[in-house]
């Protein structure tokens, strides 16, 4: 009898379902990585703000740095499935206080990125779509409408409506959202494929002329391509710094760590689904950015990027994202304008509902553990959805939207703080096989290399990778936390980053004190009962 023939026998028992497959975990993770907005940012910001940076190396660096972390979460999801993600991993492996602070930090920054993508919807999505349609149909009313969406007061109003829309959707039940998201994701992916195809098929030789005509038709200057910027010689440090943009996308391929199975198998689906998501998204970003770059050429991309903060140099209200640029190669083609503009809109806000949902779930978990009032985890009688948690996240998201539209916070200034949670989780992975030896040894990922648990090795590699990530997010002159002192004129983002961690610790200790007055000992929520 061969080794592979050795079976286990299960009986008919509740809950023994087939495991969720690789494709599902893959989709779940790809959903959370925003290919469209990622490439838009890579092309909008790297050519003009990082002299000598190579956008493809930048994307490769981001993927290499994100992969070990994706593996850490994949390993944890195999070892402690169905558990609520890193809140539980860190609480059980290191300390409940650290677990809560890491989770608090996650949720704070997630709610920030509920508000910011709400602004993107108008700022990058509706604006470009209507301007494209206006140019294609020579309708100045549509162009003006497009321009109006970059007015921050309009952005605030539209963003508020969008946050309100998703709050209602979640109050009606997550199933409605996931049905919607399935359709939206498909539309978004079709848009990516279409943009790649149209960019490859577009006439690069005539592009400068088409671009000039597009900008002029949109109300801009007559010869926009004359602003072309010749690329600077290759610069490895600028390339490293510029990787903040693609990192913003691929660092978040870990959402499927919340999906778990009961009979633990070697979780091929998770091990492939999370790192696979990083690789797939990177390939898609390569294809899209590559095809746009060959159509448009680096000099014009440089012109667009360099004038991001001064679009009036082009005579425009805002510089075009890649979908508008590709659409410009097909002058007067309303179908192309409509398809590219419409499909891109769905990428602009995709983080909003994902972060919204993840934040409400974290609030529920905290409430169940006694770290939030019980009302937070109460569900409505009719829809069985957590109304209070939804309202809290909606309000937090709206505050972030307001601060963003007032210029008080900027797009990526929170990532340094956010990554700290990933870092703590990677450290937890390193020590997990030693601190929770029995759980590790009984897990399907109890592999060893030269006697050392592979999970510890991956945790160590991820820790080093994330320290490099943190260095980049500190030092990048555009997005780095250190740069915010110059760009914002004070240390508010540094102070905020520290405050988030400090308030998390204070909240935990305060909740412990308050609950103790009621006879509830918070520390019991996480303490392991000795079995012997």
């Amino acid at each position: 009898m061969a080794l592979r023939d050795v079976k286990i026998f299960t009986r008919q028992a509740t809950g023994l379902t087939k495991e969720i497959g690789t494709l599902d975990t893959f989709i779940y993770n790809v959903n959370n990585q925003n290919i469209g907005i990622g490439v838009a940012f890579v092309l909008l910001f790297i050519p003009g703000f990082y002299a000598g940076a190579d956008i493809f190396q930048s994307m490769l660096i981001a993927a290499v740095l994100a992969l070990p972390m994706a593996l850490v979460y994949a390993f944890f999801s195999a070892a402690i499935p169905r558990s609520g993600g890193d809140y539980v991993y860190i609480s059980r492996t290191l300390h409940p206080l650290l677990g809560f602070v890491a989770s608090w930090n996650w949720v704070f920054w997630m709610t920030v990125y509920v508000g910011v993508p709400a602004a993107y919807f108008a700022q990058y999505g509706l604006s470009g779509m209507f301007r494209m349609l206006g140019v294609a149909t020579t309708n100045t009313g549509l162009i003006d409408l497009g321009n109006s969406f970059v007015n921050m007061d309009v952005t605030l109003v539209v963003g508020t409506l969008l946050i309100g829309f998703f709050a209602v959707i979640f109050a009606l039940g997550t199933r409605l959202y996931f049905r919607l998201q399935n359709v939206v994701f498909a539309i978004g992916m079709v848009g990516i494929a279409l943009a790649i195809a149209l960019a490859f098929l577009g006439n690069s030789a005539e592009f400068a002329g088409h671009f000039d005509a597009y900008v002029a038709s949109a109300g801009g200057i007559a010869n926009a391509s004359s602003l072309a910027v010749q690329p600077a010689p290759y610069d490895s440090l600028q390339t490293l710094y510029s990787s903040t943009w693609p990192q913003f996308i691929v660092l978040f391929a870990i959402t499927s760590s919340f999906l778990g199975g009961e009979v633990r198998k070697a979780r091929v689906s998770q091990l492939l689904g999370m790192p696979g998501g990083v690789i797939f998204v990177t390939i898609m970003m390569f294809l899209l950015a590559g095809s746009v770059a060959q159509l448009v050429g680096q000099p014009i991309l440089g012109a667009i990027s360099a004038n991001y903060w001064s679009p009036d140099a082009l005579g425009l209200s805002f510089v075009p994202t890649y979908n508008e640029v590709v659409g410009a190669a097909y002058p007067g083609n309303v179908v192309v304008a409509l398809l590219l503009g419409f499909t891109f809109v769905f990428w602009t806000y995709v983080w909003l509902p994902i972060n919204f949902l993840a934040s409400t779930r974290a609030l529920l978990a905290w409430s169940l553990d006694g770290l939030m009032p019980a009302r937070v985890s109460e569900v409505s009688e009719d829809r069985h959805t957590p109304t209070v948690a939804i309202i809290i996240v909606a309000v937090m998201g709206w505050i972030s939207l307001f601060l963003y539209t007032r210029g008080i916070i900027n797009t990526l200034y929170g990532i340094f703080g956010w990554v700290l949670s990933f870092l703590v989780c990677s450290i937890a992975a390193m020590v997990f096989p030693y601190r929770l030896k029995t759980v590790f040894e009984s897990s399907p990922v109890n592999w060893r290399v030269a006697g050392i648990p592979l999970m510890s090795i991956i945790g160590a590699v991820a820790t080093v990778a994330l320290l490099i990530v943190e260095y980049i997010w500190w030092a990048d002159p555009v997005n780095g936390l250190d740069a915010t002192t110059v760009t914002l004129g004070d240390d508010r983002m540094k102070i905020l980053t520290i405050l988030v961690l400090a308030t998390g610790a204070a909240w935990y200790l305060g909740a412990r004190f308050i609950q103790a007055q009621r006879g509830v000992r918070i520390e019991r929520a996480f303490a392991e009962i000795p079995p012997e």
Binding site: T10, R11, K18, R175, A266, L364, G370, P444, A525, P531
Partner: protein, 317 residues
């Protein structure tokens, strides 16, 4: 003056040796006087440890075939299997082949192993709980075969609370283990109308003057503590956007009963992924959830006084 009572409630430990051991130590650890297992004590998988002719032992653990040669390695492998809530079963190649080929024989062996394991658990309970004054209630759930009732009678310290109303002094506990229908066609499943009838019969035993705790294995329908992944006929999980679609699967009869009788507390299990607490009118309803296969014991601590719930806390022990 009314005494303050505290309950530690868990469910769905499904054969996990480490969870059972933790359960027995929970009263001392949390300082409670009553501990309850709300159904589904037996496990779901039998793991043959096949003794080869050359003396080595092979078993499939966590999706991979693992080998043990020395006595220490065998003991370690066995412990690993038990940790996940599975039952190790030592056999030679011929016995394994018979197990594989003959479903009736396999059922018989499986049942025997489950019963023997439960007996060993009860012996441990009797050792640890004797003379402590701790009240320990265990009831079978829908996944537990009918033999479990007989085995439970062998314990001096454990009380089977299924189908009974037990007077615990300060309050009474109504226990009910069966569930509504599931896609797995398990041992103790009833139609909703039968559940309703059985609960009404039990209600007749309740002392209306004394506070009531209802412990039904299946949670009340549509309360948020009864949501499970939606399944297709082949038991695969329906997903949308990569995420499992969750649907309520609790019992409507249990919900009706709780809404009508309004006990101060109702305790449930059955749906492992639906950990939470909610209110049905004046009743606090709790499902502590289960993660037995990770060795973590999910539970709920509830403090009672004057016929009211003073506090509750979900814990991961």
């Amino acid at each position: 003056m009314a005494r303050t009572s505290s309950i530690y409630f868990v469910a769905d430990i499904h054969g996990s040796d480490v969870c059972w051991r933790k359960f027995l130590n929970a009263a001392k650890f949390y300082g409670v006087d009553t501990i309850i297992v709300g159904g589904d004590v037996t496990g779901k998988a039998l793991v043959p440890m096949i003794e080869r002719r050359d003396g080595r032992i092979e078993a499939r653990v966590a999706g991979r075939v693992q080998l043990a040669r020395t006595a220490a390695e065998v003991a370690e492998l066995e412990a690993r299997i038990r940790f996940n809530g599975f039952y190790p079963y030592r056999c030679d190649e011929a016995s394994y082949e018979k197990l594989d080929a003959d479903p009736a024989h396999r059922d018989e062996v499986f049942t025997g192993v489950m019963a023997d394991t439960l007996r060993s658990w009860l012996r441990l309970a009797d050792e640890r709980l004797k003379g402590t004054g701790i009240r320990a209630l265990v009831m079978p759930g829908n996944d537990d075969g009918w033999y479990v009732d007989d085995v439970l009678t062998e314990s001096a310290e454990i009380i089977n609370s299924d189908g009974r109303v037990l007077d615990l002094g300060e309050f009474q506990v109504l226990g009910f283990g069966p569930s509504n229908r599931t896609p797995w066609h398990t041992h103790r499943e009833l139609d909703e109308s039968d559940i309703a009838d059985r609960l009404v019969t039990l209600e007749a035993q309740v002392d209306p003057a004394k506070p009531l705790v209802v412990a039904t294995h299946v949670p009340p329908y549509g309360t948020g503590i009864d949501v499970a992944p939606k399944l297709r006929d082949d038991l695969s999980v329906v997903t949308e956007g990569g995420e499992p679609v969750m649907v309520p699967v609790g019992s409507t009869a249990v919900r009706d009963f709780i809404e009508r009788t309004q006990p101060m507390l109702s305790l449930h299990g059955h749906i492992h992924e639906s950990r939470g607490a909610t209110r049905l009118g004046q009743t606090l309803a709790i499902n502590p959830g289960s993660a037995y296969s990770t060795g973590a014991l999910y539970g709920a601590i509830v403090t009672l006084k004057h016929g009211k719930v003073l506090s509750h806390q979900l814990v991961t022990g």
